[in-house]
Amino acid sequence: MKLHNKLKTFRIGGVHPDDHKITAQRVIVPLPLPKSVTIPVTQHIGAPAKIVVQRGDTVKVGQVIATHEGFVSSNIHASVSGRVGIIEEVMDSTGFKHMAINIRVKGDEWEETIDRSEGLVEEIKLDPKEIVARIMEAGVVGMGGAAFPSHVKLSVPEGKHVDYLIINGVECEPYLTADHRIMLEKPKEIVVGIRILMKALGVSHAIIGIEDNKHDAVELFQELLKDEPGITVEALEVQYPQGGEKQLIQALLNREVPSGGLPADVGVIVHNVGTTFAIYEAVQKNKPLIERIVTVTGKSVKEPSNFRVRIGTPVMDLLIAAGGIPEDTGKIVSGGPMMGKAIADLDVPVAKGTSGILLIPKEEATRAEVYNCVHCGKCIEACPMGLEPYRLLILSKKGNSTRAKEEHILDCIECGSCSFVCPSNRPILDYIRLGKTQLRKPKKA
């Protein structure tokens, strides 16, 4: 941390896991095309998309294979060319089975409307409404992991006034470097993407927040943006969960999103930097969301890498390309180690929100022994939302939903800082999630 220029950070809580950015210097490489892809129709928050192809149909890359169902939903496109195979429920990275479309890969034929040229397209020809429509057509969703349909985020409700756009280049999860690499390798495209978003929202201020462990990205963008009106870069302290949108808004603008509210309530819209790049490609190159950067990493992985992967590729293919599955693998996580989901089935496909695959060795894969709560208060110190996790655990365990709601259990962002820091290894987040579910879904009669 620089002494002369103290870095901004969020007000309360936070923890400091080791960042293990072992793939930070690995250039993005495209993963060879798989033999077949399985594309789920529920890769986003909102209604599952409606399937518009049948078994046996021939598809091209970028062709729509499922359309959005209602407003809070997303289009799904074929990420490969070939023949549509079986359409059935398969296990995906959520741990449950969902409907998915299988495509047997043949060649790599793209839709003619997609501009595949490499060059930067700077001129933004579309007007704000057209931009949002194009983003919706392209099926762009939040790629930081949440997978919220981006066109919904850009449709600011009546009565809310937005004056700031924040670009989330923080990537606070240990091990993940997908956002870091895309910032280093496609910075000009990202800047155009930011301009597109500013035009769509009608804002004149944008800030890119980057954690200071990616200092090369900070400097690169500072150089690029030194004459750019309205867009600035801010280096942030390395602290988890700096990338949580509520924490990020508070760190950069000192505004706090009210409980139960949205960033738009305080005049801000936040987009992940990977999503921004996808928006550039959608608006300037007419390319729908069909591939993404996935970091494959872990202490024992032979060739930890950042791959550019077609949506629907089985996770197994990525692991083989990274040098095979290490012998001592105990756990495989889709996402980062703090908020990612452990998977048990390696045929699970890469979805729009899969930011990384982390392989954890056996000795770190099992939880340690659980002790009584010693009232040390470390969980309270760590909670970035200022809650009292030890108490929420007790209330959730006893099923006391009323008290849990009064203690703001619904404000929990499920970042995992409490479980991370508890010296007694108590499964705090497990029970808080249970408590939130009990509140949202009333008990069966």
């Binding site: 009210p258 756990k331 996580v333 180690p337 703090m338």
Partner: protein
Amino acid sequence: MSTGLLTVSPSPHIHSELTVPQIMRGVIIALVPAVLMSVYNFGWGAIYVIGLAVGFCVGIEYLIAKYLLQRPHSIYDGSAIITGMLLAFNVPSNLPWYMILIGSLVAIGIGKMSFGGLGNNPFNPALVGRVFLLLSFPVAMTSWPKAGDWSLDAVTSATPLGIVKDGLRSGESLPTLMQQMPSYSDFFFGFQGGSLGEMSAFALVIGLIYMLYRKIITWHIPVSMLLTIAIMTGIFWWIDPTRYADPVFHLLTGGVMLGAVFMATDYVTSPFTHRGMIIFGVGIGVLTVLIRLFGNYPEGVSFAILIMNAFVPMINRYAKEPRYGAGKPKQG
């Protein structure tokens, strides 16, 4: 797959390195300098008392868990060992074995297990045991062997605090009393009479620095408690130095250092938040000084800590940091 079955669990999948057994080990290591100092001063008596106290505490916790509560015992987490050591630190080195047994029984049985074991007790168990012994066996608990005398039947003498209290009551003036005392450097390093763990501020400070370094405790409770005592006694000393001893004397004698470093900082019986801890430390400081200067007992730290332990739930309730989003939203 050659690796066998994969493990699946909810996030997070990594954990910070600090765990309860590690913390307990760290505290025991921090106690070692004080143990060495007590052995240096009191010889076999120290070893005997510490050994018995630890043995009784661990044994009683095991027996209660196994036979009374019929559930798995927890003696391997190290907390019973620490309670035993701290109980030993609070008693003179010539305490008879049966009193140590009673003290351990009260400390572990009543002070800890009756509330549900580790983490559930509202009062510091070692202090519960110590105060019980003090009230039940006042004479035995207030006659200390002279420092440096290693024999088991050493000549007993009073502590500096005791000398001052009794002296002031019988009308002597403070400066004359102070001339009978060992020098301040003797106080600091521990060449004074008292209970096993109380005497050496030096050894206790080493322990404090070690625990701060290992991030086992934060500075808030020790600093707020010691500062409060120093300032309060300083004010009284400034008003009338013939009746009130100076702050350095108060800080270095009796159980203040032991209380500030090991007793008040116990996780289970102290507040959660930093601002709560400061309130807690100030409260202990004020009560200690009041008891010392105006109460019947020469030493007030044990009572002060136990009283403040009772206030901890209230402090936890009211001394909270404002949570995220609690205030009015600021618009651009």
